[in-house]
């Protein structure tokens, strides 16, 4: 089973909100002191792939990223987690390519990597939260997709995917090749790589593609905005002042709190 896991490097979403700034002209977040990290859903995808491979006892997992040079860090971490290979498409153009451009670039890179059975992507990113990569990638590659999957196994030679729905879950049977988007649950929390594997990951080869090498319309991707364009990015102003209930005793405070809860619930 050949599995490609797509990873996106993003600004750490856990960086404190009070330090968050945007560059209104560039329409992007200012990095400041925030770290760059792998998007958590992408790590959930890698963990799901690793568990699936362990269950099969064979297979190849290739970690793939489209991003700036710094995205190599995400790929090295994937190798340390025991992905078998890694490839980086260096984005030398628009810093935030639109979702269709991302899908076209990833599809072209997957084509270069060879035959695939499953492509796994995170269900959305923690920065722009686009949530379209799986669907668009499936369309560009011409294969089916299943979204919000948190576990994959094989039964009688067929793939069985457990996907989360609004009310519970479904088991979906599918045949490769296909694209799946991965969401989180308690079973696919990303593993922490061993120190030795982290060190070894820096010795492993890493394939690099340029946009031109992929044969995609690199000029259009560099220009950006063909699918959608970010017109404005701003930090919303919050005008909420929390009133803390007070009182001489816990009893009094809870009484006040209860009264406020009741006032609202009765008005609904």
């Amino acid at each position: 089973m050949n599995i490609v896991v797509c990873l996106k490097q993003i600004l750490d979403p856990l960086a404190p909100a009070r330090e968050f700034r945007v560059d209104a002209d560039k329409k992007e977040a200012v990095r400041g002191s925030a770290s760059l990290v792998t998007n958590i859903f992408c790590e959930n995808a890698l963990e799901t792939a690793l568990q699936f491979k362990e269950q099969l006892g064979a297979g190849k997992i290739t970690a793939l990223s489209f991003g700036p040079e710094s995205a190599e860090d995400s790929l090295r971490k994937a190798l340390a987690m025991k992905a078998d290979a890694a490839a980086l498409v260096v984005n030398d153009g628009h810093p935030h390519p639109d979702p269709l451009a991302v899908a076209q670039v990833l599809a072209a890179a997957i084509g270069k990597l060879g035959i695939f059975d499953i492509v796994m992507v995170g269900r959305e990113s923690g920065d722009w939260g686009v949530g379209q990569t799986a669907g668009l990638l499936a369309e560009v590659l011409g294969v089916p997709s299943v979204s919000f999957v948190d576990h994959i196994e094989t039964v009688d030679g067929k793939l069985r995917l457990k996907r989360q729905t609004d009310n519970g879950f479904e088991i979906v049977e599918a045949a490769p090749p296909l694209v799946v988007s991965i969401t989180n649950d308690e079973h696919n929390v990303p593993r922490i790589p061993k120190t030795r594997d982290v060190m070894m990951s820096f010795r492993q080869p890493l394939t690099r593609f340029t946009l031109d090498e992929l044969g995609v319309d690199a000029a259009a991707i560099r220009a950006g905005g063909d699918y959608y364009e970010v017109i404005e990015l701003s930090i919303p102003v919050k005008d909420v002042n929390c009133e803390f209930v007070n009182g001489d005793s816990l009893e009094q405070k809870v009484e006040q709190f209860a009264q406020r809860v009741l006032a609202i619930t009765q008005s609904l």
Binding site: P13, N167, L178, D185, I235, V254
Partner: protein, 319 residues
Amino acid sequence: MSNVIICLFAANGFDRAAQGVSGAGQRLAADNGGRLHAVVIGAADDALQTALSPLAETITSLAFSEYQPEACLNTLTQVCRELAAHAVLFGNDTYSQELAPRLAYRLGGSAVADGIELLPHGDKLRVKRAVYGGKAVATIELQRAPAVVWLRARAFEPAEPREGVNAEIKHVMPEAVPATTRIIERKNEAAGEARLEDAAIIVSGGRGLGGPEPFEDLKALAAILNAQVAASRAACDSGWCPPTWQVGQTGKKVAPGLYLAVAISGASQHLAGISDAKNIAAINTDADAPIFKHCRFGIVEDYKKVIPLLKEKLAAAKS
């Protein structure tokens, strides 16, 4: 021609999310001088037809016996082309998020996720949405038509019914295609309960609860308030409650009248899921917890001491 199509799932009925999508669609069609059409995925029952009839010009019911994305996409693409869709609106449910970008691709259009405001701009559509885990808001202009948008439906007011006008109802048998994916089992863990997205009151627990047992207390509190129970990602990832309870950027986006956050610190990802709540209240030991910056009111105490007393007082007041 500036027709707007709303895509709803028969299984969800005319819930608050469907009402929000209808309202957004009605106003967008009015702004564009176009007509509103409804497409129901799954056979539309009488109640749904009655609810939609005063709102839309046509109701197209796609009588699928079982949701299957490939068949659904083929038929939806055909219907959207026939109705000359300028915009196609979905809710924020699992199937919608799966279908919308693929439909946009097939129609040669553009899609955007989780819209909270629709702003017609000439012949294009601009959509406001939260980004960076709710720390920022972006306005995105869709460059290709049709504009396919899935909406944070509770962010939109319901549609106004038109008097004396009824929609033409069409039944479309979906095109049979070889099933590339097949649902072989379905389990609804929240059967019989209102969906979190539709809940008027939510009691939600976080990492600070320390384990699964305190959720029993939250359930009891929720029962008194006629509320739904939810959780932060940390609580779900710890296996203390099912993933269907998860609220936040990585879970459900909710918009209740009251969101009561118990032992939730208020990471930005969690706040991204509750930004449409009309009132947020919190119980937390840390007065500096970020959740309090979004609260109308709060109590700085240990939830273990507060919840039993609160249950007692609310139960007494309710009786």
